[in-house]
């Protein structure tokens, strides 16, 4: 699904997962987004976005072994699929095209 359209939040979530590499489960993902974007993320919104991305096949998840400090529950680790990477690439390209020649307008 290389032509999957990414919402802004989905875009951010995918990037956060890529940055976290091996350690991408919900808690660090949320922390990473909050640290880098400076805006707070509702837990529920994040879980919904993760589910949606997985349904769009942009993400794959696997469960870890049970962990004691989680009350014997597993973590759900996420990795970005090739389809996810393709979607990111498409979005990035589209944005870059649109940005061209606009730098002085925004004074950045």
């Amino acid at each position: 699904m290389a032509d999957a359209y990414l919402g802004e939040f989905e875009h951010i979530v995918l990037l956060a997962i890529l940055r976290l590499r091996e350690d991408a489960y919900a808690i660090p993902i949320r922390e990473e987004i909050e640290a880098k974007t400076g805006r707070s993320v509702a837990r529920g919104a994040l879980y919904t976005a993760l589910d949606r991305l997985e349904a769009k096949r942009c993400l794959r998840s696997r469960m870890s072994a049970p962990i004691a400090e989680r009350g014997g529950r597993s973590r759900r680790y996420f990795t970005v699929t090739p389809a996810g990477l393709a979607a990111l690439r498409t979005s990035r390209r589209a944005l870059q095209q649109l940005w061209q020649g606009l730098d002085e307008v925004l004074d950045v």
């Binding site: 919900a26 837990r43 919104a45 469960m63 962990i67 400090e69 989680r70 009350g71 529950r73 973590r75």
Partner: protein, 884 residues
């Protein structure tokens, strides 16, 4: 460190899928563990907040996943859950579209449900489960029965208790308790503490382990080995600074040393706020007594035995004892109750059921109000519903849709209701003085808890059905043709009838509530401020029970009373001081059978019983209790001088209705003859039962007692004299504690606290009802005026004046309320009779009050009708006609 289990469970349920739940719940768990560092409480709260937010989100996602965006009737293949989800979403949307009516309904519901929840919390804490001991269902209370009434709970005599304990197999660990409030003397100033003598098994029977040391052992039930004590946790903390070395030390109770063997766990104060327990030991004489009944007995059901088994066995044992001791135990049975039943105050039941009934009244009025609002809403949605019916929705489906809306309204109101209940209960609990609260088991446990939450949700659902069903059935009646026609006024007639009926019902229910509130408020006012027969203003009171060890005989009592009254009387700012065995309104009494000189003494049981008071000479001055004829006591009425008495006017009237009692003689049956030297006014001892009871007064010097209440009349605020008064007694005997040091006004307030609660709660409910009823009338009138805009326009076009229109509208509001008031008045008079007869006794049914509140209702309704009327009168006839 584990997160709240209930929250965790809820969240997992809301998520559904096992793997997904594992990940989410695990994440939250992980974050919770980190949050705990900032504090356990805060972490728990945080967890709850997050769990609820997530749960709601997941539940919403699950319910609506894949649902079509518009409320298209689902095909028959759709699952029930899916259909419901669509309906819920549709209902939420419908409610959000009309925020103001929705808010009004939710607020009304929250207050009504809150009132009911609060009362339920009280009933739950005081009646349903006041005790929190392990397996408390297995703990029973065993009583003797009175020959006169099989169901009266009677205390038990020592000999019967010992026989029961030897013979019973169904009830184990039978334990007796005897009231034993004592003077505690220790490192600080002496103190009166609530103690109980208890059998050795006491702590085991209740399944309570001491926090420190041990309970009692069987050998300590013998005289001589019985000087052991277990201290209450609070007492230990307060007086002994929580020192664990207290074990093995001695404390001085009633002038005798007791070894401290244990400390009770924190919060344990059974029975009746006990602060210290000692073993109950009988000497041979006491152990053989069958007629002195003063023990409260509890026990634990043997494993596998039921309450019925225990009842049957105790009945057999009691029957055997009846035959064995035919004189002492004639007709004396035994009864087994659960601990909760057995320890409950018998007076509590009627009061609580009255509150619950009133709360239900309020809820009903609230329901009527809400039904009214929903009917108005249904009218606005008539076209929408008709369309749905027309394109094939079944009536059941439309009714279901409307009921779901009601249900959602009800559930939204639950948090508000719990909050209102919590706030109200906090006020109620804190208003009760601690010295009284300790006699009410469970008082401090009154609050909102999980059980109350469940009950409130259940009530909300039930209420939603009640207030939602009527409008739902009414609006879904298939009369499509009319509704779809553009005018559609033909349905309005029957709906207006329903709305008017509801408004009338509200008024009719509000009036009796208001009258009940008014009656109880008047009762309290009379209790507190009505004529008491003496003047309670400017008087300080306190009590003392002399320690036997230090004040063993009558001579010592006289000495103590004499010195104490002397010291109190010479304190600065004190006008006079006195002592008496019993003072009016105190929570105890003493009475005696009397014999009148020259009149034959009747049989026992038919003799004249009168209040018995021994007082020091200035009591009449201190209380400003008027002497009608004759004289008050003087210092000359001493031991050895002529024995004298003063009688109350009611006593004089009873025995010498036509003659002057001065100089005549009477006596306590079996005592010495007393010459009457004066007649004094009557006092109110207890507003319920002793308003003008015949009373005899004797000089303290001639009939001293080992316990007394002091009264001190001060020139300034008596509350300021407390410390000095306690010091004055300490100066007489520094080992002698005084207790209940309070002004007479405080004493009266304490005595009537139950009724103050009744009045406060009833008044709150009454005001609720008033506001709800008026809002009800207003909303009906506002609606009717809107509907009749067209008609009013026609009337005005044909020449009706603004005044005519006002008269028309206000007149309709007046008629509505008038009918409601008429029905309500009949109810109020009937209810008033019940209150008069049963509960208060002293408040007469008052027709003026019924009339007064009725007038208030009518007046408020006229105002409520006036506002829409003004709007009606301002109608521009041309505009109104054109609006069609």
């Amino acid at each position: 460190m584990k997160p709240p289990a209930l929250a965790e469970w809820l969240l997992a349920r809301a998520i559904g899928s096992q793997a997904c739940a594992d990940a989410v719940v695990g994440d939250l768990h992980e974050e919770f563990v980190r949050a705990v560092d900032a504090g356990r409480r805060a972490a728990g709260l945080w967890y709850w907040t997050q769990a609820v937010r997530l749960a709601v989100r997941f539940a919403a996602v699950r319910l609506t996943r894949g649902a079509p965006p518009a409320p298209i009737p689902p095909s028959p293949g759709d699952s029930l859950m899916r259909t419901l989800a669509v309906e819920v979403r549709h209902a939420v949307r419908a409610l959000r579209k009309r925020p103001v009516p929705t808010a009004i309904v939710v607020l009304t519901l929250a207050l009504c449900l809150g009132a009911n929840a609060a009362i339920f919390a009280i009933v739950d804490a005081l009646v349903i489960r006041p005790f929190h001991y392990p397996d408390v269902d297995r703990v029973v209370s065993v009583t003797e029965t009175d020959p006169a009434s099989d169901f009266r709970r009677e205390t038990v005599s020592p000999a019967n208790f010992l026989d029961w304990r030897r013979q019973s197999t169904a009830v184990q660990q039978l334990t007796a308790m005897a009231w034993w409030d004592v003077n505690l003397v220790g490192r600080d100033e002496p103190e009166r503490v609530q103690g109980f003598q208890v059998s050795a098994d006491f702590f085991g029977t209740l399944g309570v382990a001491p926090a420190l040391g041990r309970g009692f052992i069987a050998s300590e039930e013998t005289m001589g080995a019985h000087r052991r004590a277990v201290l209450g946790y609070g007492l230990w903390q307060r007086r002994f600074a929580g020192d664990p070395a207290i074990l093995g030390q001695t404390v001085n109770l009633n002038g005798e040393p007791y070894d401290v063997v244990g400390v009770a766990p924190s919060g344990f104060d059974f029975p009746m706020g006990a602060q210290v327990w000692v073993p109950l030991a009988f000497d041979a004489k006491a152990a053989a007594r069958r007629t002195a009944r003063y023990l409260t007995v509890i026990g634990r059901l043997a494993p596998g035995r039921s309450l019925e088994d225990a009842q049957a066995e105790m009945a057999t044992i009691a029957h055997r004892l009846q035959q064995q001791y035919a004189d002492d135990n004639r007709d004396r049975g035994a009864r087994v109750y659960t601990l909760t039943q057995g320890m409950m105050d018998e007076g509590l039941g009627p009061i609580l059921s009255m509150w619950q009934a009133s709360a239900l009244f309020v809820l009903l009025i609230g329901c009527a109000n809400i039904a009214n609002l929903l009917l108005a809403r249904a009218a606005e949605r008539e076209r929408e519903l008709a369309v749905r019916l027309a394109i094939g929705a079944s009536r059941a489906r439309v009714v279901r849709q409307l009921l779901i809306e009601s249900l959602i309204l009800g559930l939204i109101a639950v948090p508000g209701a719990l909050l209102a209940a919590h706030g109200g209960l906090k006020v109620l609990v804190s208003y009760m003085p601690a010295r009284i609260a300790r006699f009410v088991p469970g008082w401090h446990d009154i609050d909102v808890d999980g059980r109350l939450t469940l009950v409130t949700i259940a009530m909300a659902v039930g209420t939603a059905l009640v207030f939602g069903l009527l409008p739902a059935l009414h609006s879904s009646r298939p009369r499509l043709a009319e509704a779809l026609k553009s005018g559609g006024r033909s349905i309005a007639g029957s709906r207006n009838r329903l709305r008017r009926t509801l408004a009338i019902a509200e008024v009719a229910l509000a009036l009796p509530l208001l009258v009940a509130a008014g009656m109880s408020a008047r009762g309290v006012n009379r209790f507190l401020n009505g004529p008491q027969g003496y003047n309670p203003d400017g008087v300080l009171t306190m009590r003392a029970v002399l320690s036997e060890g230090r004040h063993p005989d009558a001579a010592a009592w006289r000495r103590f009373a004499d010195q104490a009254v002397d010291r109190l009387g010479t304190m600065p700012g004190v006008e006079a001081a006195a002592a008496a065995n019993v003072i009016p309104s105190i929570a105890m009494g003493q009475s005696r059978d009397i014999e009148i000189d020259g009149t034959p003494l009747p049989e026992p049981g038919r003799r004249s019983s009168v209040h018995y008071r021994v007082v020091t000479p200035r009591l009449f001055d201190v209380l400003q209790l008027p002497i009608a004829t004759g004289r008050a006591f003087t210092a000359g009425d001493r031991e050895g001088s002529q024995r004298v008495a003063i009688v109350s006017e009611s006593l004089a009237r009873r025995h010498w209705p036509a003659a002057d009692p001065i100089g005549r003689r009477m006596r306590v049956v079996g005592g010495e003859w007393l010459t009457i030297v004066g007649v004094c006014g009557d006092v109110v001892h207890d507003w319920f039962i002793d308003r003008r009871a015949p009373t005899m007064y004797l000089p303290y010097e001639q009939a001293p007692a080992g316990f007394m209440a002091f009264v001190v009349r001060t020139s300034a605020d008596p509350a300021n004299a407390r410390a000095d008064a306690v010091k004055a007694i300490a100066a007489v005997d520094r080992m002698q504690p005084v207790f209940d040091v309070m002004t007479y006004r405080e004493l009266l307030r304490d005595r009537t606290i139950g009724l103050q609660y009744v009045a406060a709660i009833m008044t709150t409910f009454g005001l609720f009802a008033l506001v709800l009823a008026i809002v009800g009338v207003y909303s009906v009138m506002a609606y009717v005026v809107t509907q009749r805009t067209h008609e009013i326009g026609v009337r005005m076009a044909l020449g009706a004046t603004r005044a005519d229109v006002m008269r028309l509208t206000v007149g309709q509001a007046g008629r509505l309320t008038g009918v409601g008031v008429a029905i309500g008045a009949a109810l109020a008079v009937a209810l008033g009779r019940l209150i008069e007869a049963g509960l208060l006794g002293i408040v007469a049914n008052d027709y003026r009050m019924v009339a007064g509140f009725g007038a208030i209702l009518v007046a408020s309704a006229l105002v409520a009708g006036y506002l829409p009327a003004r709007r009606a009168a301002a109608v521009d006839p041309v505009g109104a006609l054109r609006s069609e």
